[in-house]
Symmetry: C2
């Protein structure tokens, strides 16, 4: 029996995306974005949704570029911190002992200590409601060599990214491998 | 040391979203969508990205409504199946022994056997590239009572949704609870 729980912003699971940008004085900043993900394969694009009230909103409007930094489970506290506090009032890189690195392909900084980075240039800005969606073309992905699989792509088991659940709310680790896509459901 | 792996559509982790729609003859259909997630809190909205070549693309253009059905790990094979085969050629509900239920709030069917359902009405259509993004306003969420937490919201540990990794590729289960958002990173 299904129960109506009303219109709410819940999808389970959700990734944890840390967005890097320069502000209008070229100060590097990072924030945790609750809503986002890949939105196109060709050109490869990722979307992030921001409230106009966030400091990052003005920065991305100004530079039209951002990075998406995927933290591993060892950075749960840092990821949570950058979702709580605003870059308007402090240097979050410094507060957390993280290192900003200027991307060579877009005008945005990334987090050196995080192992998987998407470098994005704003392609479209979509006004939705409380949130504005920035669709960024992924100009390159940078990954630590230590997390690469034999196929040259990021190995999720080495990366150990984590999950944000807005309903609990909670952060969760990655669990067991369940099967191979485009294979486990194939007709015999 | 970071390595460039080129522009690619990779974010880890990614949800598994099964999209329900009626075709132009009111036949219910479901497909697995690789790219999507929440994109606005108010009004609550979810985005899904579809290639024009998919059967669901024409259905959603026609009815301007869809459901997002979140499968539990017991439905890995079914979720994979509906990502491989097209509704153009067969009735996927029938092939899998799943039950279509007509939503009472939007003109789209949902999967009775899946425990968490978002009922969406198309608010915006965004042309990006190979994929078109459908932004749907979440008019209601339906959940099986058996997966609700004490706060009345879906309990991710009871739902046991799973993760799609496009890089491996692989499906993964949910892992351990790591901490509480807006709490673990708070200044002492």
């Amino acid at each position: 029996m299904k129960t109506s729980i009303g219109p709410r912003a819940i999808i389970q699971p959700n990734p944890v995306l840390i967005v890097g940008s320069y502000d209008q004085n070229d100060r590097p900043n990072i924030m945790a974005v609750a809503w986002g993900g890949i939105c196109c394969s060709k050109p490869p694009c990722a979307a992030i949704s921001l409230r106009k009230a966030t400091y990052t909103y003005g920065s991305i409007q100004h530079n039209r570029a951002f990075t998406i930094n995927i933290p591993s489970t060892s950075f749960v506290k840092e990821a949570d911190y950058v979702g709580i506090y605003s870059g308007k009032n402090e240097d979050k890189f410094k507060a957390l002992g993280l290192t900003p690195v200027k991307s060579e392909v877009v005008n945005a900084p990334y987090v050196k200590e995080f192992s998987l980075i998407l470098e994005c240039e704003v392609l479209k800005i979509v006004e939705i409601g409380l949130h504005t969606q920035f669709i960024g073309e992924i100009k390159d992905i940078k990954a630590d060599e230590s997390i690469l699989a034999e196929n040259g792509l990021p190995d999720i088991e080495k990366l150990q990214p984590f999950i944000y659940d807005s309903a609990g709310p909670g952060y969760y680790a990655l669990g067991n491998f369940l099967g191979e896509p485009y294979s486990v459901g194939r007709k015999k």
